[in-house]
Amino acid sequence: ILLIFLGTPVEIQRPRGVPLTKKQFYVENKPFTCLDGSRTISFDRVNDDYCDCKDGSDEPGTAACPNGSFHCTNAGYRPMFIPSSRINDGICDCCDTTDEYNSGAKCENTCKELGRKEREVLQKMAEITKEGFLLKQHLIEEAKKGQQEKQSKVTDMQGNKKQLDEKVEVLRTVKETAEQPEKEAKERHLKAWEAIRLEKDKAKMAEAFLELDDNADGFVSVSELQSHAELDADADGTLTETEAQGLMGGAEQVDTSTFESVWPNIKDKYHSEVSREEADMSCLVSSEVPFGQKVFFLEKTVVKLCVLLIFFKAININIEKELSFDFGPDAEFTYLYSQCYELTTGEYIYRLCPFNRVSQKPKYGGSETNLGTWGSWSGPENNKYLLMKYDHGTGCWQGPNRSTTVKLTCGKETVVTSTSEPSRCEYLIEFTTPAVCQEPANTDLSPHDHEEL
């Protein structure tokens, strides 16, 4: 656009409230045709404070038409349209004060100030975006590396597992052929069999531990245990903190050795995700008590191999689970996995563990409340990665289950910036991360003055 600047802005002659782009339709002293073409009126009826056109186009500068709009130039800031009902309503809407020309409202021209502030904000934003975007590139690279590693691990393990599987099969065949029904031997070996059963149980226990230790810190915590609602003693559908703690013998967390004392409390009810998902504990299942020395030995070997297999599987599942998450188009959100971020407010400590769960704990003691477990990305269609949804949290008293929406904005740091509960039991967390920073557009940050007068 080429415009000649004469130092001070000059009102280009056009009826009040008309944007430059529509100036051509308002020609002084020529009949005016409503922009919808519905009728033609004499020019003195434009802005005469009476609505003649159905589309409101004859009254761009008065409040006469219910559906009209008023254009303010806002030199120094951003031009905008406001509904005509805001013309002379005593409230300053346009920073250039042009909307209040006859209401007695005392408006000050704040466009320059607003423009300056906006530019500052934009500048700051641009800086953040720029740095954030750089950080994002690192994140993407790291995620890619990590993913490759994990992928190869999975492949390796799948190979190992295959070998093991084969060994187990061979042994099982050997065992089966060796099996001869010898009744007296059965009695003798019952006791020894018990030992195998214990070992099987240990295998299951180890698997359960791995599975429960969600954040892989080597400890199973109360909240980790709470995720298994089937362990609920009073069958009210939720495993409360107290109940969980009870199961853990009063401890906040247990390591592998102390878990042994917890296991008997939970093993009958515990649903392994592995067994549920794959129903493949088959190598541990034998219906008959084995008998005969050789058979017994073979069975022992099979069980040992089985234990190995299960460990492989468990690790594999964790990795596969991780690989199954949608960490963004470039895996830029991978780094959030198995991390937790906290914000302390007046009353509560909020904890966001991305792709896992959100929780709230009173600052001065009291039980933790689950505000939702990872659900899905739920941003708008054009960018679903702007919002995360966590749901199925602890039920509200006579209400729905708690849920949380996490709103992601571009920032240099990964941090929870605010939490709120806009509606009962529906939480909103604002979260900044470089992972959502967009590539900075080549925006021109110079003033808008020249855009339009």
Partner: protein, 924 residues
């Protein structure tokens, strides 16, 4: 905004299991929390008394006649206790009947502060007297008051017609105050003075006379039995209305075989529809209507009251002197009404009509008219329990602008206060209340913050400490400060019946006293039944003490006093300049003088939307015009369809506020998708365009006492078809509204009244004849509204973001012609917020009329003065013919016009005259 359920929540979380048992109830009202007549000892005793020959006899030789009244004594022949009967003829065609004990053991409570002044009496003269009767002239058209001595009864007759009979069924029963009998002494008496036993026997104690237990609560009743009852027969009457508040039909039902209608202000959690249970407020006014006459009975008693309605046949109870006067068809229908109250005296006003408008005038002359609200209070209110903090308030305010939806008020419920200490602000959520209020003021909007009457017992709380030091709390039966559970936990209840306490309370609204408050902040009084979570029936113990009176005597009056003291405070803080706006949940006769009421904690159900119409119509008949229901329903989550329909209905009810329970999902108008946002926006805009009409109606309600919204029969008293209609109503007399209140509705059937009248659809200008049921197909955007042919309605079609922004905007006149081609209407304008209209006669009141092709504006108040910037921008004449010219006479200038010949709508372009001016437009 309350409920036992929440209470329970709080109790469970905060105060451990002590009271948990109280609150197991789930979704609907727990009826067992509230008494039936059978469970209310006095009601049971009284109701056991069946119609028959009255034991009361008038002692005609005790007659004393003065200019203003006559008195005579009544004696109960069973127990020889004497009563004093006072009869007054009141100016404006009313009769007052008072009955008290001649010599009560101690004074009985007479309700103060409800009548606006001592009613003006007129001379009662004795027309004739014989040994068993006394005939008094009530003036007028041979109206007589006949006192029959034995059995005692009163009949008001006009010519050959009995208008109303009192005690004709012999149900006058007056439990005199008595000393508590020591059972051993009475035993002695019975054995020694045998002959007296017969009369004493009648005095035998019955259960519940000296103590009554309901659930875990015991009422100590130190004064013993004190209830009163009187029956009224209304020959020729089949329709009676009023006695709000009940979630029931407009036309009162026969209560034979069910409980009577109960009047006892109660905080009822999740109330049920269509039953006579008591709710939050009570107005003991019953209106009877037939094609012949409209009358009213105002039973001035603030104690727990029950009202039985039964249908009867006239003539059954006619005998004695009365037959000299009247002709009775035994076939004629009759409605019998019986009032029963727990204490106080019989003080009843019989408003003799004869027209509906006369009854409204009569009742208004006794208890006053609707307060004239500031215009802004008639606009749209956005409420929720709770807007969480200042940021939330700001973003909701912005939301309205972003979606271009007008609103005037945003409301803050109990969570805004610091630990439910009213008059304070939560320091973390509302650290800068003035900044928030200023932000709203910059947008010409307002805020309401709740102030409930229960006061947190907390020696760190200034309000509590002052009340304590001034000894202003209600006392328990033992004289200590009464304490009960409410939102803040343990709470005291200021004695609002004490005028000194009320003056102190009012002073607390001064800006320097109520920190953080500003002039665009108004008040909401909730929980003023009063609600006491752990009290009997969730209210105060009846043996609690208000000075010398028991809570039993004053219960239904408590809420009125709370609102009065609050409204006084708002007036005072402005130096007497500004009109107040206070919303109350509890109310009594006279509450109309202090502000608005709403129908309490309803639910997001279609039935609740439907019932909001008869509930507010009943309140209007009983003087309280400024009524509304929570739009959307308080409890539960409305579907988008229900919410939209509720906005559409609410936009045409006097008090228009959306409200929601804290546990419900957010429901600001833009949260249900763009289509529903547009529908809600349109409904709210229709409200704003019609604000001039609402304002004018409220002005007239304030002057005359006529209800703002009216059942159809009020304007069409001879059309029997209108008598039971409650799904449509009139706003003023010129707009008929039939909101859509059914889920999935594709049509409604509206009855358009008035033989020879015409009605115009306000949206399409389509014309329909009166006296027909009209089938109207509807879509989601339909709000069936019709303008009466013969009316002129002024609107402001430039809808802006708040009513204040529209104050100086021009008017458009909609003249809908009747079959004679004429129409008339009014326009009222003032400063919209001060008392200057009253104090300084600063207002514009115009009469607009169209006839013989001439439309003119004439001054209705020549001695008033006010200048307005508003002008007449457009005149729409509906149902006329095409003129060849239109001339504005003042300027002798031709007006341009358009004529739509298919709908016969003539639009005059821009007359441009000032709205306060005299002007005439002539069509040729």
């Amino acid at each position: 905004m309350v409920s036992l359920r929440e209470v329970c929540g709080i109790i469970i979380f905060r105060w451990v299991p002590l009271i948990v048992l109280l609150c197991v109830s789930a979704r609907a009202v727990d009826r067992s929390n509230f008494k039936t007549c059978e469970q209310s000892a006095f009601c049971k005793r009284q109701r056991e008394l069946k119609p028959g020959r009255s034991p009361y006899r008038a002692l005609l030789d005790t007659l004393e006649l003065s200019d203003s009244r006559i008195t005579l004594q009544l004696i109960n022949d069973n127990n020889k206790v004497r009563l004093l009967l006072e009869l007054y003829r009141l100016q404006g065609n009313m009769t007052r009947v008072k009955i008290n004990e001649l010599k009560p053991l101690k004074p009985r409570y007479e309700v103060p502060d409800v009548l606006i002044s001592d009613p003006i009496t007129e001379t009662l003269s004795v027309v004739s007297q014989d040994e068993n009767s006394l005939v008094l002239s009530l003036g007028g058209k041979d109206q007589r008051l006949i006192v029959s001595a034995q059995p005692f009864r009163l009949d008001i007759v006009e010519g050959p017609q009995v208008l109303v009979s009192l005690n004709s069924r012999g149900l006058l029963a007056f439990e005199h105050l008595r000393a508590r009998k020591d059972t051993s002494i009475s035993h002695k008496i019975s054995s020694t003075v045998g002959s007296m036993w017969d009369s004493l026997k009648k005095e035998e104690d019955k259960p519940g006379m000296w103590e009554e237990t309901f659930k875990s609560h015991t009422d100590s009743k130190p004064n013993g039995p004190s209830s009163i009852s009187l029956d009224f027969s209304l020959p020729g009457v089949e329709h009676v209305y009023g006695i709000p508040e009940h979630a029931d039909t407009l036309k009162l039902k026969n209560t034979d075989g069910s409980d009577p209608y109960r009047l006892y202000n109660l905080d009822v959690f999740q109330y049920e529809l269509h039953n006579p249970m008591a709710l939050y407020g009570a107005v003991p006014v019953l209106i009877s209507h037939s094609t012949d006459r409209t009358m009213g009975i105002f039973w001035l008693n603030a104690a727990e009251t029950w009202v039985d309605i039964s249908s009867n046949t006239a003539g059954k109870m006619m005998f004695g002197k009365i037959l000299d006067f009247v002709q009775v068809s035994s076939e004629a229908p009759q409605t019998d009404v019986r009032w029963i109250s727990e204490s106080g005296i019989i003080d009843v006003f019989i408003m003799l009509g004869p027209k509906p408008a006369d009854v409204f005038t009569q009742y208004a002359s006794l208890t006053g008219t609707q307060s004239f609200p500031p215009l802004t209070a008639l606009a749209y209110h956005q409420c929720r329990w709770n807007y969480n903090d200042q940021e939330d308030v700001k973003s909701v305010d912005q939301g309205f602008d972003e979606h271009d939806i007008p609103y005037d008020f945003i409301w803050l419920d109990i969570e805004h206060a610091d630990g439910k200490r009213y008059f304070t602000w939560d320091p973390s959520k509302f650290p800068q209340p003035k900044e928030m209020l200023q932000g709203l003021m910059d947008k010409r909007r307002k805020l309401v913050a709740i102030v409930d009457p229960h006061i947190r017992v907390d020696n760190g709380y200034k309000i509590h400490n002052e009340i304590l030091s001034k000894n202003f709390y209600v006392k328990n039966k033992d004289g200590g400060d009464y304490e009960g559970w409410c939102w803040p936990g343990n709470s005291g209840y200021p004695d609002f019946t004490n005028p000194e306490m009320r003056a102190w309370w009012a002073s607390k609204f001064a800006y320097e006293q109520y920190e953080g408050s500003m002039e665009n902040q108004y008040v909401w009084n909730d929980m003023n039944e009063p609600s006491v979570f752990n009290g009997p029936e969730v209210t105060m113990h009846k043996d609690a003490l208000h000075g010398g009176w028991e809570h039993r005597d004053v219960h239904n009056l408590y809420g009125l006093y709370v609102q009065k003291a609050t409204a006084d405070g708002l007036v005072e803080r402005s130096g007497g300049v500004e009109r107040p706006f206070v919303l109350t949940r509890a109310f009594f006769a006279g509450s109309q003088r202090y502000g608005a009421v709403w129908t309490g904690d309803n639910a997001a159900e279609w039935g609740h939307l439907k019932i909001s119409i008869p509930m507010c119509l009943s309140l209007g008949l009983a003087g309280i015009s400024f009524c509304g229901a929570d739009v959307g329903g308080f409890f539960k989550h409305p579907s988008a369809e229900l919410l939209v329909r509720w906005y559409q209905a609410g936009a045409y009810q006097p008090f228009f506020r959306a409200h929601a329970h804290i546990d419900t999902p957010r429901r600001e108008p833009w949260l249900f998708g763009p289509e529903n946002t547009a529908l809600i926006r349109e409904a709210i805009r229709q409200r704003y365009a019609l604000l001039p009409y609402w304002y004018q109606l409220f002005y007239n309600a304030h002057r005359t006492g006529y209800p703002v919204v009216r059942p159809l029969w009020v304007e069409y008293p001879n059309d029997v078809a209108t008598f039971s209609i409650e799904d449509e109503y009139l706003i003023g007399k010129d707009l008929l509204v039939h909101p859509v209140t059914d889920e999935g509705a594709t049509a409604v059937t509206a009855y358009l009244p008035g033989k020879g009248e015409v009605w115009y659809d306000v949206h399409t200008f389509q014309k329909h004849d009166g006296e027909q049921s009209l089938y109207i197909p509807v879509t989601m955007s339909s709000i069936p509204v019709f303008q009466r042919g013969g009316s002129i309605i002024c609107r402001k079609d430039r809808v802006r973001r708040s009513s204040s922004c529209m104050e100086n905007d021009p008017y458009t006149l909609y003249a809908a012609l009747n079959s004679q081609g004429s129409a008339e209407g009014e326009l009222y304008i003032d400063d919209f917020h001060t008392f200057n209209f009253e104090k300084a006669k600063q207002f514009v009141h115009r009469h607009l009329s169209f006839s013989a092709n001439t439309l003119s504006s004439r001054n209705l108040a020549p001695d008033s003065q006010f200048s307005t910037a508003s002008w007449i921008e457009k005149i729409v004449i509906i149902g006329g013919s095409q003129p060849s010219s239109a001339t504005l006479k003042n300027a002798e200038s031709a007006l341009e016009f358009e004529f739509d010949s298919t709908l016969a709508v003539l639009t005059l372009r821009k007359p441009g005259v000032n709205a306060a001016a005299d002007w005439t437009v002539i069509l040729r």
